[in-house]
Symmetry: C2
Subunit: 171 residues, 2 copies
DNA sequence: TATTGTTATACTCTATAACTATA
DNA sequence: TATAGTTATAGAGTATAACAATA
């Protein structure tokens, strides 16, 4: 458990990171909307999966995921295969074209990063990635419920207290 | 200069960080759109500034900044004061209400972060913030031209090679 | 003529809600 | 009845372009 001031500084940095993300997207995204890019990246990293799993990893509603997937499928970057075990589900799989697009995007972004961080020490670069990975894990755990889930804060959590991935479907 | 593989891992983590950002926004933003939040955060951190400076720090077009600022002004969170030195410019200043809103947002986010990172060591938390700060600086330097600016990559930079903050204004 | 800021238009991302086809 | 996925609609964020006022 760290000091309050450290969390506060982290909050500031998270806010400012948006500028870095926008810079990267502007300079590397050509031909590939960021929604598709995120879908391709997760398929490349985790392999075939269902839409619902994708929505969970993206931390967005499944309706949003469905559209991003549809766009990527329209462009031939992935297939939605029938799942023999459950005919409601579809299995997402990267096509060779999708893999190519992902590789290209990856190359461009890596190149940009290498340029911007040219004056960083090897050690500092090596330090940042694992910390961000752990950060994401710390949030993932709460979202997917693989942990006590920590109280939902005194604040929001008004009606459904959803865990995302799904809009309530009232009635 | 780090190894290629390290930059690649960093690229993956940047992509995945979007999920963390969405989580945070969903759980803390109540009553304050993220555009306004970003504007308030920068005013709180850097003090009074012009719109153009704000656009630079946000790394978005000035037209976007102008709208976010207008929204925050409509809600009484900031003032746009005339600049006696240049009547085209306006000086942005946080109002007491804006400061209050910013403090509240900050409190909520800090609380969420403290909860999610409860099992992190003091050292790890202390490590992440400065690394992200430096990351942002490494990008800022290129954007605002306070550094050699590194070649604009073989890739894009087609016509105007803009530095953001401004749409070309053809003709 | 160039710069600061604004507005109009269009596109993307996102959430909510309602709908389908399966389980 | 509940779940996987889709679609419709609406709300933000963003970029491009054109415009006003001032330098």
């Amino acid at each position: 458990m760290a000091a309050q001031a450290q969390y506060e500084e982290l909050v500031r940095q998270f806010s400012a990171f948006g500028a870095v993300k926008r810079d990267i997207r502007r300079l590397t995204s050509a031909e590939c909307p960021s929604g598709s890019a995120a879908v391709l990246a997760l398929l490349g990293r985790h392999g075939d999966m269902h839409i619902s799993r994708m929505a969970e990893l993206l931390a967005v509603d499944m309706s949003v995921t469905s559209r991003h997937v549809a766009q990527a499928a329209d462009r031939g970057w992935l297939q939605r295969l029938p799942d023999p075990a459950d005919r409601r589900s579809r299995i997402l799989r990267l096509t060779p074209e999708g893999r190519e697009r992902l590789d290209e995007l990856f190359r461009h972004t890596t190149r940009l990063l290498a340029e911007r961080l040219a004056d960083w020490s090897d050690d500092d670069v090596a330090l940042l990635a694992p910390l961000m990975a752990r950060l994401r894990d710390s949030f993932d755990d709460c979202r997917t419920g693989s942990r006590p889930a920590a109280s939902p804060l005194p604040r929001p959590a008004p009606p459904g207290s959803e865990r995302t991935t799904r809009t309530p479907a009232s009635a």
